[in-house]
């Protein structure tokens, strides 16, 4: 006997009722007012089990029987509803919950760590080359308008770098992707009164060198090493990859938090930032590796790269110290936390890799294991 309520089709009014079955697969529904409905069990429609929420049986005449006695209903209708049975089985068995939790955490981790970068890379390389042009159009104008100023380098110096690039570095990239056309630009970039040493590459193959960078470099090899690093970004289509990765992260995050309140967004924003910067650290390492391999082929000592990187870091640090001394504020070291947000791998890692390739170079190897 299962206790519950009976409703006429589409009616809110209800009558207490008792539901029972016999051995022949037939049921009887006795209403409190004396009416009895009988029929085949197989003709009843039963809602899927979900936690302990009220269960509804729909009779042939459209009237419904509602009960909270889920377990009794499950026993009677054991053989029906296989698909739902599976989902409900997962939901009610502790071991499957634990498995779900572990799989969820593991998948989420691997998806963000390897899945997204891998898929993005595949997509980025499957797209036609013109996409690179498309996403960089307008970028150069934007940078010129808001960040850069005209270069103060002499025409002679610029031409020398460009000529050297054409003769020595361009041929190295022939085997990668014949469609890429590199173009060098010289600009001056400063924040406040501090000139910034930097080199950037746009997906279209435009490479920008800042005046301060050229100034800090002590020989042609150092400039070449940085140019090769930037070429690595272009060859590996990192710009496009970043864009695709960003889309993936946003969609995933949206689906996870879809039903949540807007407040969770703040935590999610922080998470997305962490994930994105970890991707771009991966890109930097990839570009480094590209540069080192090409340097062995071009007969340049990879140590040049760590030399110029060190010099740039030292310069930035010194500038920082000068400024803090001026304003008499002791700077607290909060670098460790910020490393997580840093888009570049730690300098130490990069220097180690450079040294390893430098060893190979000294041994006269063309390929380094």
């Amino acid at each position: 006997m299962i206790k519950g309520h009976w409703h006429q089709e589409g009616s809110a009014s209800r009558i207490d009722a008792l539901f029972s079955i016999n051995d022949l697969g037939r049921y009887a529904l006795e209403l409190k007012n004396g009416t009895v409905y009988r029929g085949e069990l197989s003709h009843l429609e039963v809602t899927e089990r979900l936690g302990n929420v009220a269960r509804k049986l729909t009779l042939e005449n459209g009237s419904v029987f509602v009960t909270l006695d889920n377990d009794a209903i499950d026993t009677i209708f054991k053989n029906q509803q296989k698909i739902n049975g599976f989902v409900h089985y997962l939901e009610t068995h502790l071991s499957s919950i634990a498995v779900a939790l572990v799989i969820t955490l593991f998948t989420a981790f691997s998806f963000f760590k390897w899945g997204i970068p891998w898929t993005s890379q595949k997509i980025a390389h499957a797209l036609p080359y013109e996409t690179n042009q498309l996403i960089s159009s307008g970028t150069m104008d934007f940078l010129d308008k808001y960040m850069f100023e005209e270069s103060n380098l002499s025409e002679e110096k610029k031409n020398q770098i460009i000529q050297h690039f054409k003769v020595k570095l361009s041929p190295l990239s022939r085997e990668d992707d014949s469609q890429i056309e590199y173009k060098l630009h010289f600009r001056s970039w400063s924040m406040g009164d501090q000139a910034i040493p930097n080199a950037l590459a746009l997906p279209s193959g435009d490479i920008i060198l800042t005046d301060k960078f050229v100034e800090l470099s002590s020989n042609q090899d150092e400039i070449d090493s940085v140019l090769l690093h930037e070429m690595g970004h272009v060859v590996h289509r990192h710009g496009l990859e970043m864009l695709i990765e960003g889309t993936f992260v946003t969609i995933t995050v949206m689906m996870i938090s879809g039903d949540g309140s807007g407040l969770g967004d703040m935590g999610i924003g922080l998470g997305s930032a962490l994930v994105s910067s970890s991707y771009s650290r991966g890109h930097e390492s990839e570009a480094d590796l590209y540069a080192f391999k090409k340097m062995l082929l071009a007969d340049i000592d990879p140590v040049s790269f760590s030399n110029i990187m060190n010099r740039m870091t030292t310069y930035m640090k010194e500038e920082e110290n000068n400024r803090t001394r001026e304003t008499n504020i002791t700077k607290k070291s909060n670098g460790n936390v910020l490393d997580y947000f840093s888009s570049h791998p730690s300098t130490q890692e990069r220097v180690e890799l450079a040294n390893r390739y430098s060893e190979c170079f000294k041994e006269g190897l063309r390929v380094c294991k």
């Binding site: 409703h7 089709e9 589409g10 009616s11 809110a12 009014s13 209800r14 979900l50 936690g51 302990n52 929420v53 009220a54 509804k56 419904v64 509602v66 989902v87 997962l90 939901e91 009610t92 499957s96 919950i97 779900a100 939790l101 799989i103 969820t104 998948t107 989420a108 998806f111 498309l134 996403i135 924040m191 406040g192 009164d193 501090q194 864009l243 960003g246 889309t247 946003t250 969609i251 949206m254 689906m255 996870i256 879809g258 039903d259 949540g260 309140s261 407040l263 969770g264 703040m266 935590g267 400024r323 304003t327 504020i329 700077k331 607290k332």
Partner: protein
């Protein structure tokens, strides 16, 4: 008056939620609509009044089409936004024009798939009115806010141009007129817009509630913009107070740095943000999140109380909300904290807590009973266009 109750529990919902997440992952997201249905079913069926429960009847299949379209649109928007700003503006414009239709459609859909005590809800508001409420009114609001000051400014500029032709003295005179007239125009525009904002709130509330049906029963609300205006005024007062406090906090913590920043904004251009100032800003930011939740809770609960006490079903069944701002903001803040420290795993408990709070503070007059209500015959939905519209699910901002 009897309050609604929530009969579910966090631990039970956790199991449903984690399995949903798992299946969504395994199916690469395709299970999402079915997961959503299970979530909704759980929360609806556990909401009870007078020991009768609500039910959610939509199927995953019904939601799937809309889910796919939303995803495609979202991906397209994301990619286009990176490539061409013009393209993304056009897409946004399309979305903007489609929003009233989406709201109308999802109101119809969501009501039609919801029942209470075996009787279905429905929505009979008109599409035209949705466009008036969710496109025309917001557009007028924008015009009021920016149109009048802009008009005053350009008229003034025009006068200066004429004055320039006339000579030096006239220019000075006219620009003096412009500087006095422009702030007045902006002030008037602000007052008018502020009032109109309350009018919109009234109209939207009426559109949603007066269009709702329970079986043959008709919901009716009779709200006045004056009351919404008062709530908004108090909200503004509170916001000013918070800004004042924030200003003082930044001033004290940032000390001389702050004064330097404001007296000499040039120093900011050189990329030097003093540490004292940064610290003060960080603390101010935290206080601001806290204060925003408090203020938002205040506005939300007051509007809810006012709307509920003026809403009736068939002129006899009345409603009330006893939700207090301090309870709402407490649950909100503690939920946020729980979710953050557990990296999201406490989400099911947070959601159940919120559902309990909302339902237990919703009162309905059950004296007349619901026995007289019958489901209205619903016309069959078949064409693809309707199916697509069916499936979109936009929140309208009138909690009910």
């Amino acid at each position: 008056m009897e309050s609604l109750r929530f009969t579910g529990s966090g631990s039970e919902y956790f199991k449903i939620w984690i399995v949903n997440v798992l299946l969504t992952i395994i199916t690469l997201g395709l299970y999402y609509p079915w997961a959503k249905v299970r979530n909704r079913r759980y929360f609806y069926a556990n909401s009870t009044l007078d020991s009768r429960n609500f039910e959610y009847h939509a199927t995953g299949k019904q939601l799937f089409v809309g889910f796919l379209i939303t995803m495609v649109f979202f991906i397209a928007y994301n990619l286009i936004a990176q490539v061409s700003p013009q393209g993304s503006i056009i897409l946004l414009l399309v979305l903007f024009i489609a929003i009233p239709w989406l709201i109308w459609r999802s109101l119809m859909f969501n009501m039609r798939v919801t029942s209470f005590s075996n009787v279905y809800f429905s929505f009979e508001g008109q599409l035209g009115k949705a466009y008036i409420n969710y496109l025309l009114y917001p557009f007028i609001l924008l015009l009021l806010m920016y149109g009048l000051p802009a008009a005053a400014f350009f008229m003034g500029m025009d006068d200066i141009a004429t004055a320039q032709a006339m000579g030096e003295g006239a220019v000075v005179e006219t620009s003096a007129m412009l500087t006095t007239f422009l702030p007045i125009a902006m002030f008037v525009a602000f007052i008018v817009a502020f009032y109109f904002y309350a009018v919109i709130k009234k109209k939207n509330t009426e559109y949603v509630i007066n269009g709702s049906r329970y079986g043959q029963g008709i919901f009716k609300t009779n709200v006045e913009s004056k009351k919404f205006l008062m709530i908004n005024l108090k909200t503004m007062g509170l916001s000013f107070l918070v800004m004042l406090i924030l200003g003082v906090v930044v001033g004290i913590l940032g000390g001389s740095d702050t004064i330097m920043m404001f007296s000499n904004p040039e120093s900011m251009k050189h990329g030097r943000i003093p540490e004292g100032f940064a610290l003060a800003m960080g603390i101010a930011y935290l206080i601001m999140i806290f204060a925003m939740i408090l203020i938002m809770s205040y506005t939300m609960t007051r509007q809810r109380t006012y709307t509920y006490e003026n809403t009736f079903l068939d002129d006899k069944i009345s409603f009330a909300s006893t939700l207090r701002a301090r309870d709402f903001s407490w649950v909100m803040l503690s939920n946020l904290f729980l979710i953050l420290v557990t990296l999201g795993l406490a989400f099911p408990w947070a959601k159940v807590r919120m559902a309990k709070l909302m339902l237990e503070n919703t009162l309905v007059d059950t004296e007349h009973g619901f026995d007289v209500y019958l489901s209205e015959k619903q016309e069959a939905q078949s064409s693809l266009g309707e199916q697509i519209g069916d499936a979109f699910d936009v929140d309208v901002g009138v909690a009910f």
